[in-house]
């Protein structure tokens, strides 16, 4: 009889401890999902939630403060995300707070990040809707990139065509690089240019001789003499001015010496 009682006690202890463990497990899981503490709800409206799922974390200043509780489609372009957030962080989340969707770590878990909003604004209320920034749409970026790649392909094709034409000596650049006749004609042109320069030099020498002869001509001699006289006069005046300045400088130095 006593053995039976002992067996009952052992079974009772075993069952109690294991049920206690189960309750602890339920409590720990529930605490992560904010089931056993006071919470409030915020809404954010996104055009694209980028793979966000119910149960993903909500992070505020780097701390997990809540979870995503529901994602509902409002229209063909908008989805409303409900966030369940701990009551104790409510005073820190202001009216101008912005919700964004970002990625946690390398494994790509999505999460909502909240910015605190403007400092002097009033804190958010339960069931408020806050501003939301749509996540980067990688499909859109990839579409744009594929367009860029197509353009680059066309450009490289065209460049390759141009290079081929140049290699075949076609076009101005091709002829410049590969045509001997152009070089020959250039050489001819240069020779001609040298000859022309020589004849121009000869011409200018003859012209200066002619000018010299003109100076000695009786019709123009008076004009050139007048010009010479005016030039001499100007030179003399300049010389006089320079001498006057030198004298004035010497006088001032002699005065200083006498005072001493």
């Amino acid at each position: 009889m006593q053995q039976k009682t002992q067996q009952k006690i052992k079974v009772g202890i075993f069952a109690t401890v294991m049920l206690g463990l189960l309750l602890v497990g339920i409590f720990l899981i529930g605490r992560n999902k904010n089931l056993f503490q006071r919470t409030f709800v915020l809404y954010g409206t996104f055009k694209n939630v980028g793979g966000l799922q119910v149960g993903n974390n909500v992070r505020f200043v780097g701390i997990d403060v809540g979870t995503v509780v529901s994602i509902d489609i409002l229209s063909d372009t908008t989805a409303r995300v409900a966030l369940r957030i701990k009551e104790k962080v409510k005073p820190f989340i202001k009216k101008g707070a912005v919700a964004g969707i970002s990625t946690d770590g390398l494994m790509g878990d999505k999460l909502i990040t909240l910015s605190s909003g403007t400092e002097n604004a009033t804190p958010v209320e339960d069931k408020d809707t806050i501003q939301a920034i749509d996540p980067m749409n990688y499909d859109h970026v990839l579409d744009r990139l594929s367009g860029v790649a197509e353009n680059a392909e066309v450009i490289t094709e065209q460049l390759a065509g141009i290079a081929t034409q140049i290699n075949h000596g076609k076009g101005s650049i091709g002829r410049l690089l590969y045509s001997d006749s152009l070089a020959t004609s250039l050489e001819g042109t240069m020779t001609e240019a040298k000859k022309t320069a020589k004849s121009i030099r000869k011409g200018s020498e003859g012209f200066s001789e002619n000018m010299e002869a003109l100076k000695h001509n009786f019709l123009l001699r008076g004009y050139y003499k007048k010009k010479e006289k005016a030039a001499k006069k100007q030179a003399e005046e300049q010389k006089k001015e320079a001498d006057g300045k030198k004298k004035a400088g010497k006088d001032s130095t002699s005065l200083k010496v006498s005072k001493e």
Partner: protein
């Protein structure tokens, strides 16, 4: 030739259907006797002691080693991917959702279903069951209902214990190479878990327990009269119970996915 084949197939089919019919009748008898007056509480608690309390050691060691080994096996691979911080979450999800319940149920099938099958088989061979029927005692209520219910109630508790010890084993496994505090390991483990992981796995262990108790009782209760039938009852109880556990697990996964995902 064709007629011989047809007769062989017909007899095999009839035999199989007879067994299925027997099991249905046995289930009905079991269900009726649960709610009949004079429930054997004393025997039920004794069976809880034998099935549950006496299995603690085996289940505890198994659970601890499952967690320990799983961590040691997965840690290097996750380390290669730079995802070592996911070890606690991965261990907890795989233990709680699948490995813990199934392994513990299979271990219990080996220990409990065989012992029930052998016990009832030997009682059948020595005509103790027939004697109970003659003396107007209800052998189904006394022997079957208590054992099946004890298995059904105790297996979830054993699984919870095994899960907890597997997480502890996982923490020890991580600390073989690195140093991670117990608080951090358990926090990360429970962060990864959801109710949709815990509740279905607890519910399915009731079905595992029922399968173990029912198959053990059925095989023992319907054993032949020879001495060797005791051994075959124990053996087939283990095999059938293990098969039932795998089947129930497959069904449970489908049902869980339908409900939660």
């Amino acid at each position: 030739m064709r007629t011989i084949m047809a007769s062989v197939l017909t007899s095999a089919f009839n035999k199989y259907m007879e067994v299925v019919g027997d099991q249905v009748v046995f289930t009905g008898q079991f269900a009726r006797n649960i709610f009949r007056d004079g429930f054997e509480w004393g025997e039920f608690l004794r069976q809880c002691y034998i099935v549950g309390y006496r299995s603690i050691g085996l289940v505890a060691i198994t659970g601890f080693i499952i967690g320990f080994v799983l961590t040691l096996q997965t840690q290097p691979t996750l380390k290669d991917f730079g995802a070592e911080s996911y070890v606690p979450g991965m261990v907890s999800i795989s233990i709680v959702r699948e490995i813990g319940p199934v392994i513990i149920a299979l271990i219990c099938a080996g220990k409990i279903a065989s012992s029930i099958g052998a016990e009832l088989g030997s009682m059948k061979v020595t005509e103790q069951i027939a004697a109970m029927e003659v003396s107007s005692a209800n052998p189904i209520q006394y022997l079957v209902v208590t054992r099946v219910l004890a298995c059904t109630m105790m297996l979830p508790l054993l699984t919870i214990m095994a899960d907890a010890l597997a997480l502890l084993g996982g923490w020890v496994g991580v600390n073989v190479q690195e140093h991670v505090s117990m608080a951090l390991f358990f926090r990360k483990s429970f962060n990864a878990l959801k109710f949709s992981d815990l509740l279905p796995s607890v519910v399915k262990t009731f079905f595992f327990g029922y399968a173990i108790g029912f198959v053990g009782c059925y095989k023992g209760y319907h054993s032949s009269r020879g001495t060797e039938s005791v051994g075959s009852a124990a053996n087939s109880a283990v095999v059938s119970a293990s098969l039932w556990i795998i089947l129930i697990d497959a069904i449970a996964v489908q049902v869980t996915n339908l409900i939660y995902y």
